[in-house]
Amino acid sequence: MRREPLFNAAMLLALVAFPLWAWSADEPFLITLATKAAILALAGVGLNIALGLGGLVSLGHASFFGIGGYAMGILASHAQVYDPILTEPFVLNGTKSMPVIWLTAIVFSGLAALAIGALSLRTTGVYFIMITLAFGQMFYYFAISWPAYGGEDGLSIYVRNGFPGLNTLDPIQFYGICFGILAAVLLFNARLARAPFGLALNAARQSPLRVETVGMSPYRLRLVAFVISGMITGLAGALFADLNRFVSPTMFSWQLSGEIIVFIIIGGTARLFGPVVGAVIFVALEHILGGLSDYWHIYLGVLLLLIVLFARGGLIGAIAGRETAHE
């Protein structure tokens, strides 16, 4: 158990050292790769709150990722052509300011998570998986057939949004923003897991009946966890759209939902740095193997299969040993 905090610290150090090295070696592409890993890790950390801590297997988390992305896309696309979003009953302009966009992304994905969670959490098991998948698909098809914001073609945002005091087009500075957010959310996640709420949620995952007999409502615990999880994944979506300067309906696809779950599993479910490890491995594999072979997905599939069948705790489980509070 002592190995895990050491491993986490090492991981954090690597996340700082690698981009700094890439910056000094003048390799901006590697910094961008690291940024992509950090953003996907953030999405995974969001899902991990619902999945790892709460035991809610949501195959529709791409809904929130996409909502965050489209929040950014809508605000920025209106701002870049100086066309207000609304003129009646009050004027609502777009914006290219990152903090405002993040706030919008968080609020809207939180609301969506509240609505989706309130309906889906009435079901359990495979029905929950399916209904979250269905909601993801609803958003996906809706985005495809919404021509105002690109439809199937997606929406390009020509210039990266602005953050007060920083030049966001500089890869290392944008990485700094994403890493800062990731670190803050990891800290939040760590504190949440040990707070009364996190403990109650963990208990609801293991034995909902007991939690009810003690007087708490598993439904409400799960709903709150689902909303928090959706908000974080939505923030990741906004950042992802900013990274690529492009939003498209694929941000809602169920394959993406599956990939986010894959990050968590590769790293280790419910481990704090699980999604981080998983995202880093995924991006690294995509870059390295993708360069070697066009069919690198086969290797990813085999790796995933081996991990699921033989290495149940993921990578961190293999390195740091069994955790005591989570089997």
Binding site: V57, R122, Y127, W146, G258, Y295, G301, L305, L309
Partner: protein, 306 residues
């Protein structure tokens, strides 16, 4: 909206529905008997279609192609059951979802490796092409009518299998209490492999049949897989009757919704807004239907009482 067009769309919806049923029947059997979510079912559909296209290209015979589809899909199903699925029966749903998701990746890229990225051709045989005049003056393609007939006969065949044969009784017992029938001396591993291969064969057949009217390409199984999941969730997991009802419901809703909704919206919106709003809502319609069914009956229409 002429009556003729409506009747045609109803038949189209029926055809989509029965093909979904053939796909969903395997999925619901596997879940009902073995308690396993199998995301790789779409890949088995694709394997069947590719096998049919390859054999039809080599021999020119559609019938041989269908047999090849059944055989290839059943073999692929039996293979993955023995290698991978067997280890997942005791695991939780998350592990099953992930392992079968991994299988999708392997199958898709493997097929792309073998066959390339371009779609293959599978043509409707001459003796099944062309329209047929139905009572009422409706002209409908013979092939689609054949699909409806095949789908319905598979439904009857499955019903007979489940209710009248020994295997069917074992399947019913397995759905009810797995451990008990193992204790009573039924060879569980063999039963599971047979059920899985049966489901796989059905998926492969569906793939081959539909592949003739759509294209045979990598990733063709995914949209159908999602629809099949919606069907079994609406119908109730483990219930073949539910799969049939759910499939026909989904097929009709999807087809008729796509046709009628833009028309309905045209009543109070201008034409272009109506068609975009209508088609947006139509594509979301079956998911909305599923959400409503689950909220009303959390285990589906014919599902087990939770």
């Amino acid at each position: 909206m002429s009556l003729l067009l409506l009747a045609e769309q109803v038949l189209n919806g029926l055809q989509l529905g029965v093909m979904l049923f053939v796909m969903a029947a395997g999925l619901t059997l596997v879940f009902g008997v073995m308690g396993l979510i199998n995301l790789a079912h779409g890949s088995l559909y694709m394997v069947g279609a590719f096998a049919a296209a390859a054999v039809a290209g080599l021999t020119g015979s559609f019938l041989l192609a269908l047999v090849a589809a059944l055989a290839a899909a059943a073999a692929a199903g039996a293979l993955i059951e023995m290698l991978v699925i067997r280890r997942l029966y005791d695991r939780d749903h998350l592990d099953q979802v992930l392992a079968t998701f991994a299988l999708i990746l392997i199958f898709s890229e493997g097929t792309r490796w073998i066959f390339g990225s371009f779609p293959l051709y599978l043509n409707i045989p001459d003796y099944l092409s062309g329209p047929v005049t139905l009572p009422g003056g409706i002209e409908y393609p013979l092939y689609r009518l054949t699909l409806i007939a095949i789908g319905l006969s598979i439904a009857v065949g499955l019903w007979l299998l489940i209710s009248k044969t020994r295997l069917g009784i074992q399947i019913q017992a397995g759905e009810n209490d797995r451990e008990m029938i193992a204790a009573l001396g039924v060879d569980i591993s063999r039963l599971y492999t047979i059920v899985f291969a049966l489901g796989a064969a059905l998926a492969g057949l569906a793939g081959a049949l539909v592949g003739a009217i759509q294209s045979v390409q990598v990733g063709m199984g995914e949209p159908v897989l999602i629809l099949a999941f919606v069907v079994i969730v609406i119908g109730g997991i483990g219930s073949i009757k539910g799969a049939l009802v759910g499939a026909i419901l989904v097929g009709l809703t999807d087809t008729l919704g796509g046709v009628l909704l833009p028309q309905a919206f045209r009543l109070f919106m201008d034409a272009s807004a109506a068609s975009s709003a209508g088609s947006a809502l139509a594509s979301m319609l079956i998911y909305i239907l599923m959400a409503f069914v689950l909220i009303w009956k959390p285990t589906g229409l014919f599902g087990a009482r939770a």
